[in-house]
Amino acid sequence: MLRRFMAFFSALFIALPLIAAPLKIGVFIPGQREGSPIYDSLAAGAEQFVAENPGSSLRLFEAGFNQAEWQEKLTSFVSSGRFDVVLTSNPSIPDLIEAIAPLFPTQKFICLDGFKAGIPNLHTVLYNQTEQGYIAGYLAGLISSSDLPGANAQKKAGMVIGQHYPVMDTLIAPGFEQGLKAVDPSFSLDIRVLGNWYDATKASELAKSMITSGVDVILPICGSASQGVVKAAKDSNHYLVFFDSDEYSRAPGTILGCVALKQKELGYAKLNEFALKTTPWGSAQVVGVKEGYIELLDKHPSYIQSLPASIRDRMSELIARISSGTLSFPAPKL
């Protein structure tokens, strides 16, 4: 009896992985989920996958904003968890993975928003953020040149950024500026730096100072401090365009456009790909409007009601051009 019992169990143990193969997913967030739409949607993508694949498990880890600690934390995360796959998102993470990959050769990593080819257990997918910046810049240029009540005659648009960082300096800001200049070459871009990602009061002061100097459209990329920019723009009846996620509800009528990254969809897709064992390991992809992972959120009522049809038409035309490949941006190498 006992022997039969044991045989049954051992058979079960051997067979189980073959039958169910539930995925153990670790999501490493180099920051904090709440307040960072990009990480929130990454987590949401993983959650959606887990919800649809019963038996799979998910561990989220927030590593905080100090980039110097990520290496140590990623290492402990990987060594403690024994995950089937670690999903993460940040341009600088591939460097870290490159450093620890030899230590954990069987550990698979998928990194969104990053670019690094040639590491056998890593697959990266980069958003074409020049494209994203360009779309936002083009929209900002159209708004600033329009006869909307908050727009002025000066050809000035602005950005309030938390800090300078490579993706910002090489992709986003140049893309934004190109977009502006595509509307009118006389546009100038005013970039102001906050010095951190949370001093909303100062962000508000910065935005006000910018507005008094003639800026009428601002793209804030300064983390939680962007609340200050929203406040300043709203108070003075000027306009904002936003990045990465649907932010219209924060200030309808002030936030006139959002150019989103479909991080949730991308994360979900990449996990499915992993489950189907079709992940192209060692490769690096670039995705953008064409692939459907960068999107101007132009279905939102706030967008439709606030912007005149002329602007909306020109934006649709732009998106169409990018989708069709008529207008393309060199895949950034990062």
Partner: protein, 296 residues
Amino acid sequence: MTWLDTAGDILASALEAMTPLLLAAAGGLFTELAGMLNIALEGLMLTGAFFGFAAAAASGSLILGVLAGALASSAVAWAYGSATLRLKANAFITGLAANIFAPSITAILSAVWFGTRSVVALDIPEPARPLQAFFGSTSILGRIFFSHHSLVYLSWVLAAGAALLSNRSILGTRIRATGARAEAVAAAGFKPDSYKLAAIILSGFFCGIAGASLSLPLGAYVPAMSSGRGWIALVAIYLGNRRPGRTALACFIFALAESFSNFAQGQFGIPSEFILAIPFAATLIALSLGTSAKRV
């Protein structure tokens, strides 16, 4: 736009930026006079910012918000102060504790009350701009002095009140005496520690309002939004040589440097880091000149 307009705008925004500094410095003044290094100003401000905003959001009343911020921050100050005094612990370390505690407790409560540990933006009433209607906001003087929201003026009144309290009141005299010579206060039959505690609670009170003056006009609570202002306030007190008037002036200099640097970012092609350093450099220079002048 003439340079006069620009200067006016910079001045006006300096006066607005001065508000939290002035209030925090008014609070820190009491602990300084009582002879204590209070590095917890930062944490106390954050507490005030959170509870002030939460109360304003719940009640829809800014006045209640300001009060709640002041009270909550006073309560934290009381806890920090009594730990320091009763346990005879090192004030620097307990201050550090308060500064670590404030963001933690606000995040925990924020998760409970608002469902997020991040930015909480809700519709709360705008602070009124009480003098704008009377004096207009078109003239330069009007923009500099009369265009601000009520918390700016409240901060002036409170700062004056703090000066009066520290110089003219019985409590203020006792606190100063404690700082000047605690054993004499004990010899006179009072408990120096209770005046130190009173000073800490007062610093909490003012810092709480300082925090509320960050979150209420913004209509949002942002984690870590005090952003080093507590330290700057402390510097201002030193710069002002622990005198109310001079401390207020120091706060103004600091705010002016900051709003100038905000303006300068758009104007000159200097790396932003250097411009961000302007307030610190300005303070350092002012401190060097100020004390050397005093020494002669």
